[in-house]
C-alpha cells in the first residue's frame, strides 16, 4: 500500500515537473516557443555532446552493473537511476557550454539564470529539510531526497562551467 502511494506520488511529481518545464520554457524563450532554436553550428556541436553524454551514461551504467553484482550499493534504486541521468546531463551541458551551444537563439540567459537559481534553492532547501528530518538516509541507504541534492549540485556545476566559459571568452575578446 505504501509503495502504491509512493508510485502515485512520483507520478504526480513527474507530471507537475513537466508542467513546470513548459511554463519555464515559455518564460525563458524570448519568442515564447516551447523549443529552443539553435543555429547549424550549435546543432552540430549538440549532436556531438549528446553522443559523448550517451557514452558517459553507458560507461557509468556498466560500472554500476559490475559494482552492484559484487556489493550492495547503499542507495535506493531511484537514487541510482537518477545518478545515471545526472552523469549524462553534466557531460551534455559542459560540452555544450564549451562549444557555445548551450544557450539557443531564443534563450534569454538572464531569465534562465533567475529561474535556475530559484530551482537550485528549492532543491537545496528540500535537501536540508530531508537531512534535518532524518529522511535522507534510512537503514543505511540514501533515500529519494538525495536526488534533490544531486539536482542542486548539477545546477551549480552548470553555473560554474558557464561562468568559467564567460570569463575565458571575455579574455579572448
Amino acid at each position: 500500500m505504501i509503495n502504491n502511494f509512493r508510485m502515485i506520488g512520483l507520478a504526480v511529481g513527474i507530471v507537475v515537473g513537466l508542467i513546470v518545464c513548459i511554463v519555464v520554457f515559455r518564460i525563458v524563450n524570448t519568442n515564447k516557443k516551447l523549443t529552443t532554436d539553435y543555429d547549424e553550428r550549435q546543432e552540430r556541436a549538440r549532436g556531438k555532446a549528446f553522443k559523448y553524454a550517451f557514452y558517459a551514461m553507458m560507461i557509468y551504467e556498466a560500472l554500476l552493473c559490475v559494482i552492484s553484482s559484487g556489493i550492495e550499493i547503499p542507495a535506493e534504486p531511484i537514487v541510482i537511476h537518477f545518478s545515471v541521468i545526472f552523469v549524462g546531463v553534466v557531460v551534455l551541458s559542459i560540452i555544450c557550454i564549451a562549444k557555445d551551444a548551450f544557450a539557443g537563439q531564443n534563450t534569454n540567459m538572464k531569465r534562465y539564470t533567475i529561474v535556475m537559481v530559484f530551482v537550485t534553492l528549492i532543491n537545496i532547501l528540500t535537501a536540508i529539510m530531508a537531512v534535518s528530518g532524518g529522511i535522507m538516509v534510512e537503514d543505511g541507504k540514501l533515500q529519494a531526497p538525495f536526488c534533490n541534492l544531486l539536482c542542486a549540485v548539477l545546477f551549480i556545476v552548470i553555473y560554474a562551467a558557464y561562468g568559467i566559459k564567460q570569463l575565458s571568452d571575455r579574455r579572448d575578446d
Binding site: D39, E40, Q42
Partner: protein, 65 residues
C-alpha cells in the same frame, strides 16, 4: 584557416559580428568561428552571408591560390 576576407567584408560595411549574426539568423559565436576558421558553414549559410555582405561565394569562400 582563418577567413580574413569575410572579416574584411564585414568590417567594410561597418558591421559587428553580432550585426551579421542577427542578419543571417545565427549566433555571434558562429560568425566568430567561421572567421577564425574553426567552423565550415553549410552552403545555405554561406549564401546568406554573401547576400547580406553583397559579395559572391567566390569572393568570400573559395580557397585562394
Amino acid at each position: 584557416m582563418k577567413n580574413l576576407r569575410l572579416k574584411a567584408a564585414r568590417a567594410g560595411l561597418d558591421m559587428s559580428q553580432d550585426d551579421l549574426a542577427k542578419a543571417v539568423g545565427v549566433s555571434r559565436q558562429t560568425i566568430s568561428a567561421i572567421e577564425k576558421g574553426d567552423y565550415n558553414p553549410t552552403i545555405n549559410l554561406c549564401i546568406s552571408i554573401c547576400r547580406v555582405l553583397g559579395k559572391t561565394l567566390d569572393e568570400l569562400f573559395w580557397p585562394q591560390e
